[in-house]
Symmetry: C2
């Protein structure tokens, strides 16, 4: 599987110099932008060289057997090309062409034909109807049609991170990558699996256990093999976040015309997710907004949350949301309340802690008091950035969260555009709505509970049993 993300040589079947040719955009991405150093061959009817990538009229003519073939030609030509690839001994194929199972009976028959050839020859196939793979650390990308001069793409490769995505749609890939550009978390790998006739989400969950991935985000239009997916998830020590469409018959029908998904029983899927520790997302935006809670913060080990606001209304708003999410508004102890009284400028020393106009030190004192309190498992700061010093105190908060090994899901009750700008500039994991913040605490706690249930961590012990580096780090720092 590794070589799907880091092939030492590739052939792009269908890349040519015709105008609007999609295969050539992959050549351009690899050569001009990623400075890919291995050989890139092309196959096209004129055997023409494309952007310095030598051209041949058939895969059979290539001077070597490349690690991977990317196929982007009209669907009807694909079965023949696959047979050529088999003869040539190519083991990894990305079929980007559309027009297979999602396009009716004819397409489905072609897809079956391809599968058979692949099985007989020990080849692995990604797609059809997909974009293939992207790896930021390997500086490899098989996506067609992406403009490599986009600043978004630029930053994604320059600042590799620890989220990996498995996405059954090109459009969602674009949304997620563009959104992360305005966020603060980086990407490790992205796979667009399309109709997933062979390589599916379960294979990739297994693979992502062994690399730099810390969080796995998945967008699904259908489940190919439910049992296989659940078994892979059950074994995962890394959080798996899935947004799945097709909950309703209408949604399932729409998905079918898109990536050939079959309607499946949503209730069964829902309960299987709970069983296997999969976190099911409520919106497509959660796919890019929630992972930062795992990469930037310790996990929430209990359900008792303290709120801290400088704008009273948001305490009331978040209290409703917290209860809806099954988390607990912690009753602060007398001792904690006494400490808060001494901090000064506090309107309300009970949860939600509510302050008036106060200097930076008051903010820092309150963070410290709340995170240090035994009865508090995590913090929900709802702090309007009415002065720029609030940003500085939030940066201190990040350090305190690591020290106390307790998370904070920060919401700044400002215009979303303003919050996004602060987040990107100051590298603070700010959520865009109070709903998102509460949800972040909730999924963090769900993940912790699922680690316990699946025996990765003991009921009351700390997190020494897990190899999740982030959790270890938090625990170790807390122990100092």
């Amino acid at each position: 599987m590794e070589k799907f993300f880091n092939p030492k040589s590739v052939v792009i079947v269908g890349a040519s110099n015709s105008s609007f040719n999609l295969g050539s955009t992959i050549c351009n991405m690899l050569k001009d932008y990623l400075h890919y150093t291995g050989p890139v061959y092309t196959v096209n009817s004129k055997a023409e060289t494309v952007n310095g990538c030598p051209g041949f009229s058939s895969v059979l003519d290539l001077p070597q057997t490349p690690d991977m073939a990317i196929i982007i030609v009209a669907a009807r030509h694909v079965p023949g090309i696959i047979k050529d690839c088999a003869k040539k001994g190519i083991k990894r194929i990305v079929i980007e062409s559309a027009g297979f199972a999602e396009d009716g009976q004819n397409g489905a028959a072609m897809q079956r034909e391809i599968d058979e050839v692949a099985r007989e020859n020990g080849m692995r196939i990604m797609g059809p109807n997909c974009l293939g793979t992207l790896s930021t650390r390997d500086k490899f990308c098989s996506f067609y049609g992406v403009n490599p001069s986009l600043v978004e793409m630029n930053q994604i490769f320059e600042t590799p991170g620890n989220i990996s995505y498995i996405i059954q749609s090109g459009g969602v890939v674009v949304l997620v990558m563009e959104s992360l550009y305005y966020d603060l978390v980086g990407i490790n790998k992205v796979v667009s699996i399309g109709n997933k006739s062979d390589v599916d989400e379960a294979d990739l969950i297994d693979y992502f256990q062994k690399d730099e991935t810390e969080v796995i985000g998945i967008y699904l239009e259908n489940v190919a093999d439910g049992r296989k997916l659940m078994e892979a998830a059950q074994k995962s020590r890394k959080p798996i976040l899935i947004y799945k469409v097709g909950r309703t018959p209408e949604g399932a029908m729409a998905a079918m015309s898109h990536t050939a998904g079959m309607a499946s029983n949503d209730l069964i899927f829902e309960s299987a997710c709970k069983q296997a520790g999969i976190i099911r997302l409520n919106s497509i935006n959660e796919l890019h907004s929630l992972p930062k809670m795992f990469t930037e913060m310790p996990i929430l080990k209990g359900n008792r949350v303290a709120m801290f606001t400088n704008s009273g209304a948001f305490g009331s708003i978040a209290a409703d949301l917290l209860v809806d999410a099954g988390l607990q508004m912690v009753r602060l102890s007398g001792q904690t309340q006494d400490k808060l009284k001494k901090a000064g400028q506090v309107f309300n020393v009970k949860n939600p802690v509510d302050i008036g106009p106060a200097p930076p030190q008051t903010y820092l004192d309150i963070f410290e008091i709340l995170l240090g309190a035994d009865e508090v498992d995590g913090l929900l700061p709802l702090l309007s950035v009415w002065q720029t010093f609030v940003i500085d105190t939030l940066q201190e908060l990040l350090k305190m969260c690591k020290h106390y090994d307790k998370p904070a899901a920060i919401y700044t009750p400002n215009a979303v555009a303003k919050s996004i700008a602060i987040r990107a500039k100051h590298r603070i994991p700010i959520f865009e709505t109070p709903e998102q913040s509460v949800r972040a605490l909730s999924v963090s706690h769900m993940f912790c509970e699922s680690l316990r249930k699946r025996g990765f961590i003991g009921d009351h012990e700390k997190f020494e049993n897990t190899d999740n580096r982030r959790i270890m780090k938090g625990t170790m720092e807390a122990a100092l």
Copy 2:
């Protein structure tokens, strides 16, 4: 009530030249920023002039009886000042000071004392614990602590609009105003009513029937008089959107410490809203994100929605959401499907209509075909801005919606920051998530149904019976 928004003379009791004095920020706003031309008096212990506003040691010494008094002093002084105002014959009072019913028994007793004086003397009171009023057209604002140099404030006064807000919290006022700055709809009036010992949301709903208001947005922490609110709502020809906290006991407790709200039965409130045609919001962000659906688009007169996407996944995502919202994925007629086939580049001519890379004319053709189809009541365009021409076609779509008198709730599957920037620059009512778009269609339809139910429009007739100018306009244009 009018004079609360447009007083010809005011006194600010508590404005002084001491550092951190809050009252003086109101003088500064009126004089330096809004260029208020009427007399502004101040009352403070030294009888000192504040930013050119003549100072007196008591309200009784003022050379005239101002239209309105704004009081911002420590709570314990307020009852005495109210008595002075009564003697002086001042009829409108905004009490911005906190420390009343929200602050325990003592405060509650003072609030009752004030109420009694007001009732006996025919005075109307706004607050206590509030910011008072803002009117963009009258260029008046009684809010303290607002920095008038903020660009956000600037634009709000420069581009008056047709949304009016009734908000029981200063923090939410700031969030809403800041958010609208990054949106495209303008404000008419904003009232922060705090503990609302006298003037309440029902009074203001009545008042907003007669001015430029087209949509009424309300944030409530408690309902003072349920029957009065519901009667006012029942008579409203303008949509009323309410976000209310305190759904849970925890939320109600938090609200109590903020604006002295009493826990009320949420189920009763919910069913009363349905009865009275009030649209209850699901999140605080809906307070600023949804009004544009009413000010920028015709209302949704049936529940049959057609979707149009250039990124297949979003058709599947939105189909689920549409069904959840009780709207209907319209079955496009054979005739409509034939027309779509002729438009070219269409992957799927059934709903959701899904296209590949296509030129601008294809987008325009599809808009026209779908809006022109008898079976379609409204449109859900899910169009990624992969080329800038998509923006141009969306601007054409706005005109077509008016022509056909059918709404479109536009979502662009791009990073939120990008969508917000496009919306602000090109004045296109873009929603930030697919959930928001579907919700916009849903509330538009709920409003239409409630107009029918309350007899403002006939069951099958057009909208001639209502004085809502926007609806009339849409109808008239459609008739041409």
